[in-house]
Symmetry: C2
Subunit: 339 residues, 2 copies
């Protein structure tokens, strides 16, 4: 696709390049109205500020930011290691920012990054993120943004995800094959792309095997462990108690296991449990837990590679900018049919 330069953009807008440049940098001396006009057309005409614009920003910081919800999660910890491997090799520094799943915090961080402290941004958005404005601003300021795992579909300079739909479908089929008839899906966020994909893969499997999907099949969880444990505890007292639970993120494993223990329900005897998780200790849990394991390190590495390519102004083809890496279904005792 043809790209447009800042000069043409200015011409079409009947503005000076300086004004356009300032608007793209979110400068205080440009009115909000003008900024909106510039951003709108820049977006429509696929304006790519690439290496040149970032060159205009002055001296490179040789630093990339990794913006993630939390670090106490095996997936993110492993992904950072992947990012770091690439960064160290290329002589880049890595700034890690934690959003703690708060969209306001994420926004503040991204706003701050507009000041040019970093050359590029890797991001896995919070469970509430929806607004793409600041991300767009970063990109038009010449700071490329690459999403990994938790992405905004079709946004940024690229995205690295896993086959969430397929993985979830496979896991659900596995549970159905273990004779599970009432599988409940613990949904972590209703707005996250990965949540939707995982939920849809689950729904598809139910549908294909002739099971109805009702609201009783979903339990919506929060970021609070205690709250989640209580919801699951209640779930386990329902008349139509589930015979299997899918935890759609790692942090839901603890509350699920604890709630089962407190209800004296044996896993897998009374109930099967599986999770999307990169927990190193999955094998030594009581019982060892069946997981969908994401290639976290590889994802971090691929995302960093892509970001550095964008940073250097190299052309990125569609295939590179939208990478889907396969997850692995690791079946362990928590979903096996007991003898």
């Amino acid at each position: 696709m043809a790209t447009i330069g800042m000069k043409e953009l200015a011409k079409k807008l009947k503005l000076s390049t300086a004004t356009v440049s300032k608007a793209l940098r979110d400068s205080y001396d440009i009115s909000e109205k003008t900024k909106q006009r510039v951003l709108k057309l820049a977006h429509e005409l696929n304006y790519v500020p690439n290496a040149h614009a970032s060159g205009l920003r002055g001296k490179k910081s040789k630093t990339i930011a990794v913006v993630i919800p939390e670090v106490a999660d095996s997936y993110f910890a492993q992904a950072i290691n992947g990012v770091e491997t690439v960064a160290q090799k290329e002589g880049f520094h890595v700034l890690v920012y934690l959003t703690h799943e708060q969209v306001e915090k994420e926004n503040l961080i991204l706003q701050e990054l507009l000041n040019g402290r970093v050359d590029g941004v890797l991001i896995s958005v919070t469970s509430q993120s929806k607004d793409v404005t600041t991300i767009d601003k970063l990109i038009s300021t010449g700071i490329p943004v690459v999403f990994f795992d938790r992405v905004f579909e079709g946004q940024g300079n690229g995205q690295i995800t896993t086959d969430d739909f397929d993985a979830s479908y496979k896991l659900t089929v596995h549970l159905i094959e273990q004779a599970c008839k009432h599988i409940v899906f613990l949904l972590f966020s209703e707005s996250l792309n990965i949540s939707t994909q995982r939920m849809n893969g689950y729904k598809r499997a139910l549908h294909e095997y002739g099971f109805n999907f009702t609201e009783n099949n979903l339990l919506i969880c929060t970021n609070q462990d205690q709250e989640n444990k209580e919801s699951i505890y209640k779930l386990l007292a329902r008349k139509d108690r589930p015979d299997a639970i899918i935890a759609s993120v790692e942090k839901l494993i603890m509350p699920t296991y604890l709630a089962c223990m407190e209800r004296n329900l044996v896993i897998p005897g009374n109930i099967r449990v599986a999770a999307f998780s990169n927990l190193v200790q999955a094998e030594i849990l009581n019982p060892a837990i069946t997981t969908i394991t994401q290639p976290a390190f590889e994802m971090g590495k691929t995302a960093a590679d892509l970001l550095l390519k964008a940073l250097k102004g190299k052309p990125i083809d569609q295939e590179e900018s939208n990478v889907v890496l396969p997850s692995v279904l690791e079946i362990r005792n928590s979903t096996k049919t007991p003898f």
Copy 2:
């Protein structure tokens, strides 16, 4: 007029830069006599205790570095959250650097930080670190350094540790009270201060309860999971097979549990296992593992508070610069006497 730096001052006084830095800050843990000596020479040689060298470095970066061995470890993940809480509140950015337990990498990182990219450094050293040269350079350049958990005794602008000796002593006594007669200590590093403290607490308990300590009581582990699993697997085939194992760091839990499983040894029936670990999932392991849990979040927070204080040039008294926070012994099934 020629000025003299803190480093030359230290050299002429035959003192460490840390001591000179502390003396110039009127720290409580420097004797009045030494302070007078330092001040006298500083005056004679025209040392300018600017605000301070950091002022000379030019513009503040409002960034602190956290240099740690790895992020895929519950302790460090939780400690970063503690650091981050303070940093966000004070408007500081946090750069996370991973050394992957490689002293060469750590040195490169610290060398790089001399360029003034950050205003201060929080560090937990690698298992091989011994050399304090670059740390001294940082301090004399006006970049304060605070150690947490893995420290160089008496170095830096301060250190935050836990009561490793006492905690290890208590854990060992607990095992002895469970009738364990041959407890093996998995040592992670022979040079780390925390390893020595933990080993010494263990030795003290053995000694007090009349057990001999021989080389058979120690198994020296590495940073390689597979290698560790093999060593432990061999250990479990010895004629004098241990009846208890203390894993001195979290990463030794996996190889220990796996080696026991492969030898068909039941924990705690055949062998008790305990670990120094902040693993959130400790309670749902098979079996739930007895741990010494460090106040990781609090340690990160305290270290960051101390660093910011040093950064602002505020006086730091002895009590503040050497904080020892208590760990908690959490007894779970892995060390209980089975019925």
